[in-house]
């Protein structure tokens, strides 16, 4: 399996182990997140592989910088007085704070989160507006960055 998928699946496992009590339904991985609006009447947490940058760390070690999205989505009425969206922002910060502790991933020991960003990937994704301003879906995005070292092919002598 690819490094991106391994890391994304490990993040799903971690989220479901640590935040199960906060989730309405378990987090899942979706490479192309696709929901019906009615599915978002309850909280959905989706992990999506974002990108990978590879570089050579030493003559024998290659390192992958893998980024994954964690999307927090739920319907919020357009006249929400923050009472529905505040808990979603709190959850996003809790998830961010957990990964910022740099605890190794349970499913991938030795792999830790190097940094994170929450809701910082462009205003257009912070609050996506569905159905042309008539029904809103709150979409909070966390971008988690992991460094994964693996043996590389030996360069020619």
């Amino acid at each position: 399996m690819s490094t991106m998928i391994d890391v994304a699946d490990a993040v799903v496992t971690e989220l479901n182990n640590v935040f199960a009590s906060s989730f309405t339904v378990p987090a899942i991985r979706q490479n192309i997140p696709r929901n019906n609006l009615e599915d978002l009447s309850v909280l959905r947490v989706t992990v999506r592989p974002k990108d990978k940058v590879t570089s050579r760390a030493t003559r024998s070690i290659v390192q992958d910088i893998v980024r994954v999205y964690v999307g927090i989505q739920k319907q919020c009425p357009v006249d929400d007085d923050n009472s529905l969206s505040d808990p979603l922002i709190d959850l996003g910060e809790d998830i961010q704070a957990y990964f910022d502790k740099q605890i190794p991933l349970t499913a991938l020991p030795g792999v830790v989160c190097e940094n994170s960003a929450f809701g910082a990937d462009g205003d257009s994704t912070w609050m996506s507006v569905v159905n042309k301003n008539t029904i809103d879906v709150y979409t909070g995005l966390i971008v988690l960055t992991f460094r994964v070292a693996r043996p590389g092919r030996q360069p020619p002598a």
Binding site: Q30, I32, P33, R34, N35, N36, L37, E38, L40, S41, T46, R48, Y69, G71, Q75, P77, D121, G122, S124, T125, S128, V130, N131, K132, N133, T134, I135, V137, T139, L141
Partner: protein, 122 residues
Amino acid sequence: MSLADQIAADVSQVFLNTADFAVSVTVTRRTQTTEPIAVIVGSSQFQVSNEFGFTQVETRDFSFDPSEYDFGDGAVLPERGDFVEDAGFRYVVTPPAAGLDFYKLDETRHLMTIHTTKTGSA
């Protein structure tokens, strides 16, 4: 009877007849619910996307006799946030786009149509 009169008569006798084209739904506003209303249903689906992914949206238009839009104190006009329960799903009255009306009345004033969005289970 003129053709116009005949068409107007057909609205209630044929189109809004649950034995023919119509189905029966209820509409709720906060804690008040209408009696079952005979409606004609039209639906459409579309998809919206952002950087993260896609969301599939289903909208429905419900057409009915405006005199039946009654929560117990006489017929009223639809309000944003009213919702229709149909076949186990909830459809919330919303404008089709920001700034547009979410209901319309036909020229003969025999048929009102509301625009709704499917938001979840009833």
